[in-house]
Every structure is written in structure tokens, then in C-alpha cells.
Amino acid sequence: MSVLTRSMRVVEAELVVYRRTWRGTVISSFVNPILYLTAMGLFLGSFVDSTADLGIPYLTFVATGLMAATAMQAGAGEGSFPVFAGIKWRKEFHATITTPLSPADIVYGRFLWAIIRLTFILVVFALISVLFGAIEIGPALLAVPAGVLTGVAFTTTVTAFTVTRENETSLSTLFRFAITPLFLFSGTFFPVSQLPDSLQKIAYLTPLFHGVELVRKIALPGVGEPAVTSLPIWVSVAYLSVMTAIGLVLAARFLDRRLRP
């Protein structure tokens, strides 16, 4: 079996599990975007006279930001609790590695699985945004791969973090002190140009900022400052790609160390 075949076997196993558990996740994939877009896009948006400041309606601005932020949350989710369960709770990873599969195969397989999950979640998000009148359908769907890239950058790096943890409280800490601040301060709800200079520079270094930039530039062709920055689009693509790759390599190495002491 090649490494791709072996990884696909992990995907297949995830699909078998998903056949039993999809109901809960599908509902949240539909309900969350509707709740966010209603609260933030419509109700909050009606207070914001954004067209003057941003050049686009606030609903449009926030829908594109939330698309990236949703990808981050789902991506980080795939890399955290299910991975921890495989190691410590249900321990199925320990059984998997007594077959021809190795810890690295588990990491690669779960990476492919995250791509599938994120694609589904983001297509749903894009379509709901279209129904809200926030984005045009063509660019909205074109932005899905940008969202997937944002999501997997978090999946691989969070997986690398998770497999080195002994205690699940580290995972809630990660969400509380990394994911949530990123969610709030990465240009999702307001342009980072609103931030004080020093914070703005920090924002440029964070992953979700690049995810939001990327999604917005693709979903809203021709959009300009201040809704997005003047940073070239390839910078964001490169940032997220490198982050994904580093996460993947580290996760495979750390999981091997964890499962084969």
C-alpha cells in the first residue's frame, strides 16, 4: 500500500464513523451560519453605516470574514478533540497502528478528511451567504478553497499541539486564549486598520488575518481598502500553505513519538 492508499483507508474509516454521527454536525453546519449572519450581518449591520466607510455593505464584509473564521474553528476542531480521543479516550489510534498503518498515516488521513469536512461546511456557508444576499454565488464558491486552506492550516498545527498534550484542559485553553482572540481580532468583524498601529502589525502575523484576507479578496472581486489591505494575495496563500505543511510534518513526527514510545 502506498502512503496515499493508507491515508485513504483512514478517510474511509472516518466516513464509516460519519455515517453514524453526521446528523449533529450537519445541523450545526446550517444553523451556525444562519445565526451569525442574522445577528452580525443583519441586526448589527443595520447599525453600521458601512457602505460609506468600507465601500461594501457590512453584511457582505462580515459574511466573508465569518467564512474564514468558521473554517478556522472547524479546522481547529478537527485537530483537537477527535485526535485527543484517538489517543486517550477511545484510544482507537493505538489499535490502528498495530495494522500496517503508521501514526503518520493517521495524520495524513485525518488531514484529507479535514479537507472533505471543511469543503462541505464552507459550501454550505457560501450558499447561505448567497441566500442572505451577501455575496454572488460564483465568487462565493470560488472562495471555498481559500476557506479550506485556512481551515487545514489550523487542523495540522492544532493536531501537532494536541498530540503532545497529556491533559484535555490544554485544549480548552487553546480555544480560549488562541482561537477566540483570533476570531475577534483578525479582521472578521472590523478591518484591522481600525486597530492601533502596534496591534495591527501583530494582526498581520496571525493566520486568521490571512485567511480572512484571502477569502474576502476572492469572494469580493475588486474589493479594496479598507475592507482588505493592500497586501498581495500570494503572501496570504504562502503563509497558510507553509503553516499547513509545517503542521503536517510536526504532527506526524509528534504522533509517532506519542504512540510509539
Binding site: 483507508r9 453514524r20 482507537e92 493505538h94 489499535a95 503508521s102
Partner: protein, 308 residues
């Protein structure tokens, strides 16, 4: 001579400064049921993990099917079945789905897996539970499913780490029967256990492990013959009377073991020993005469009981 399946020489596993397995030697041949008997912490599981290639060896030599676990792990794992100490089944999946996923991990075709699942469910006496989720199974059923899962790839070597720990006596006997059948079908079995009756029932040969080293090796019968006289007289005394009686035991048997709750007398002739007790005025509350077991061998070798 029969083909060697697993061969270890000076096999050592360290975790930092802690030596879990300390330069052990053993040779397991095709078709036998080989046991590792020892208390918790003896190094049994660490040894199993090295054989199943999921834990790198620290020092010494180890071959499985003549292959090197550090470089040919995947080829080894293709040909073995592993029953871990703790069930790690996927609880959300059905019985059949658990088997299916592992068949795919072993690169089997779907049609092949379906055929094999049918056989294995019958073997594990779970045919009528094929569509139940694992969550709803009893402990014994889960254990049988874990064993069935280990057999999905028709392995030449099956490694069972404490297969019956935590099961009730009836479930243990069902499991023993299945393992016995497996052996009759020609599989080589490696079994770790801290139950001496399990080792006696299932193992052709075994090693007694304690604190990372092998204390003795042989067939259950040979070990008992070598390390323990034929019969054991177990004495239980009324509260506080054991100490008074112990003084009078000298020379009564080949050897005696004074435990917290009872005294064991090792003898070739239990009747004569009991008669002599009467003569000396030793009157325990309870007397039990039994055959020697591997537990007695272990006690002799280490001065401790297998399960505390």
C-alpha cells in the same frame, strides 16, 4: 526443529532510567501457545509492544518472522493480530463495522472482508449482534470482538495481552475455548497473563517474568515439577492464632510460605503432613489440600504472589 516465529536475545526496553525489560531471551516456535506470566509491571506489555513493532527496542536483538521490527514493521504487522490489554474498539460503530474498518486497514477487498466478517462473527459468537453498536455489548462480548478484529487478516501470529482480565469466570471460559480453537487451527499464540490457571490452560510453554527479567522458563507442568512439590496444604487460622502455630511448623513440609492470611505447606504427601500436624497439636480453623500451581512457582521464585 520447528520454525522460529519470534526470537529475542538480550532484548531490553528502557524508559529514561527505568528498565522495563532487562535483557530477556526467548524463542517462540510456530504453532505453539507461548505465555508470559507475571504480575503487573513485570514488563510483559512492554515486551508485547516491541514484538508488535509499536515500541522501538532499546537494546538487544529481536526478530519476528525473521524480520527486523525497526525497519520492516509494516510487513510484520501485516501478518500479526493484536489483542491489546484494554479494548479500544470504536464504540460508535457496529460490531460488523469495527471489523470492516480493520479489514480495510489490512488492504483487504470489500468482498473478502464481508466473507471474513461472517466467519469471525460466528467464531466470536456474535452473529446475532452484527448490527449492534459496540456500546451495547457486555464486557465478554467486547473482548471477543476485539479478538475477532485481531483475526480479520488471518494472522500467523496472534498476540493477546491479558485477554481475560476483568471478565467474569463464565466469560473467561468461553474465551479460553475460542483461543484453544484458534491454536488448533494452527495459529501461533503469545499470551500474557497474571492468572496462573489461564497460563496452565492455554500455554504449551511459558516464561515467568518479574521486574523485567525472566525468572524461569518451561512448560506449566515442568515448572511446577521443578519448583514446587506435588501438593499444597493451605492452613487458615482463627484471628491471632497463626503466629503461635507458625513456631511449630518446622520440618513439617519441604517448605512453607507464611502469608498474611494463611500458611502454605509444600509437601509430597498431604495426608502424612496433616497427620503430623495433629501430633504436634496444630489446629487451624480451615485446611485445604490442593495440587501445586504456577502461583506456587511464582511465589517460590519471587517470594510474592501474582496478584496482590
Amino acid at each position: 526443529m520447528r520454525e522460529s516465529i519470534v526470537r529475542a536475545h538480550g532484548l531490553t526496553k528502557k524508559f529514561g532510567d527505568f528498565v522495563a525489560v532487562d535483557a530477556v531471551d526467548f524463542d517462540i516456535v510456530k504453532g505453539e501457545a507461548f505465555g508470559f506470566l507475571g504480575p503487573n509491571g513485570a514488563g510483559k506489555t512492554s515486551t508485547m509492544k516491541m514484538i508488535t513493532t509499536v515500541s522501538p527496542i532499546t537494546a538487544g536483538d529481536l526478530t519476528v518472522f525473521g524480520l527486523d521490527p525497526s525497519t520492516q514493521g509494516r510487513s510484520i504487522r501485516q501478518r500479526i493480530g493484536v489483542v491489546p490489554q484494554e479494548d479500544n474498539l470504536d464504540l460508535e460503530l457496529t460490531v460488523a463495522e469495527n471489523l470492516y474498518v480493520y479489514g480495510r486497514y489490512h488492504d483487504m477487498t470489500r468482498a473478502n472482508i464481508r466473507r471474513r466478517i461472517e466467519e469471525l462473527l460466528e467464531f466470536a459468537q456474535l452473529t446475532d449482534r452484527a448490527k449492534s453498536t459496540v456500546d451495547s455489548l457486555s464486557g465478554g462480548m467486547k473482548r471477543r470482538l476485539t479478538i475477532a478484529r485481531a483475526l480479520i487478516n488471518d494472522p500467523e501470529l496472534v498476540i493477546l495481552d491479558e485477554p481475560t482480565t476483568g471478565l467474569d469466570p463464565q466469560a473467561r471460559h468461553v474465551l479460553w475455548d475460542r483461543l484453544y480453537r484458534l491454536k488448533q487451527q494452527g495459529a501461533t499464540l503469545i499470551i500474557t497473563t497474571h492468572y496462573m490457571d489461564e497460563a496452565e490452560q492455554l500455554c504449551d510453554r511459558l516464561v515467568v517474568m518479574d521486574k523485567g527479567v525472566i525468572a524461569a522458563e518451561g512448560s506449566p507442568r515442568a515448572l511446577i515439577a521443578e519448583y514446587a512439590p506435588r501438593e499444597v496444604v493451605e492452613l487458615r487460622f482463627e484471628d491471632g492464632q497463626q503466629d503461635d502455630a507458625v513456631i511449630k511448623l518446622d520440618g513439617l513440609a519441604h517448605r512453607s510460605e507464611i502469608l498474611a492470611d494463611r500458611v502454605l505447606l509444600y509437601t509430597d504427601d498431604a495426608e502424612a503432613t496433616q497427620h503430623e500436624m495433629g501430633v504436634r497439636g496444630i489446629h487451624p480453623g480451615q485446611v485445604l489440600v490442593r495440587r501445586s500451581t504456577l502461583e506456587d512457582v511464582f511465589l517460590r521464585l519471587t517470594g510474592r504472589r501474582l496478584i496482590d
